[in-house]
Amino acid sequence: MGEELKINPLRKFLRKEKLPHFFCAGCGCGQVLNYYTQALDALNMDPEKMLHIGGVGCTARIPIYLKTDMFHGVHGRTLAWATGVKMTQPDLPVVIFAGDGDLVSIGGNHMIQSCRRNLDVTVVMVNNMNFAMTGGQVAPTTPEESVTMTTPYGSGEPRFDVCRLAMAAGASHVERWTTAQPVQCKLAMERALQHKGFSLIEIVSQCPTHYGRYALKTGDPVKVMNYIQSNTYAKEQSERMTDEEKEGKLPLGMFICEEKPVYAGTNMAF
């Protein structure tokens, strides 16, 4: 063609030498990274003055591609680290990227306690409905009757509703969206970055490589995305829907956003 290639300006937030990234073709984690950089760009925030934490899993690889200071390592202990960082540097913005395996299966107790304390962090949880990095095993967030690698006759367990858990535990800002909604995801991340207190953004994401292959028998990311869209509904519609229509589906939207005292080592005034 001979013309100069113009690159996406949002790549100024990314480490050039790390691209192309490690995620599979059509993975939702790459899209979440894209939405997050859009939110950073809209808020004019500098990721070099923030801390990003990732545990273990596909989603936890997201901060590796950002030009930022980051922790990466212990499975499920992202919020324990964030608590320690917030004790010593309360003004440092901390953003956590964690998958469903990281946050609600092995790190479930850390999440509940951090919600209860209302720790001032932003958690972006990418829910791809299985343990994708280890080969597509059944996870607490796998929908009922889904075929996965370890449940060849279908999962017999009901799934976890993470947003309801976080609300019950006392989180002050909880939202759920899907990767098929770029604008809503970006605006939710902007609200979460500006919110003072524990913000949980759950993004239901497609995993064409494992969940698509085992449960839906397709490797097309758009088909998996359509499956997710047909199994979710906007929470504003819930009054107009019957219980049968809502069965097995997840509501989407902003569930709670309120001001609460933030944990800073102790909430008692000395």
Binding site: P20, A25, N34
Partner: protein
């Protein structure tokens, strides 16, 4: 030229092909350094600049001017 594709970052997920409302993209038979058949935008004059592809590309490969 309005749609730029960084062929070395494309992973041939064909999300842009399926999501574009004006059918601007298609997957080529050419291969990039990583071995993927990258996407190209042969029908750029139809582009309405909704930027859906740019916002949703998982690989930061697309830029719409």
């Amino acid at each position: 030229m309005a749609v730029y594709i960084d062929k070395e970052l494309c992973k041939s997920c064909s999300m842009c092909v399926s999501l574009c409302p004006k059918n601007v993209f298609e997957i080529t038979h050419a291969v990039n350094k990583k071995g993927y058949n990258y996407a190209a935008a042969p029908r750029q004059e139809e582009c309405i600049k909704c930027k859906k592809c740019e916002k949703m590309c998982p690989d930061f490969a697309i830029y719409v001017e």
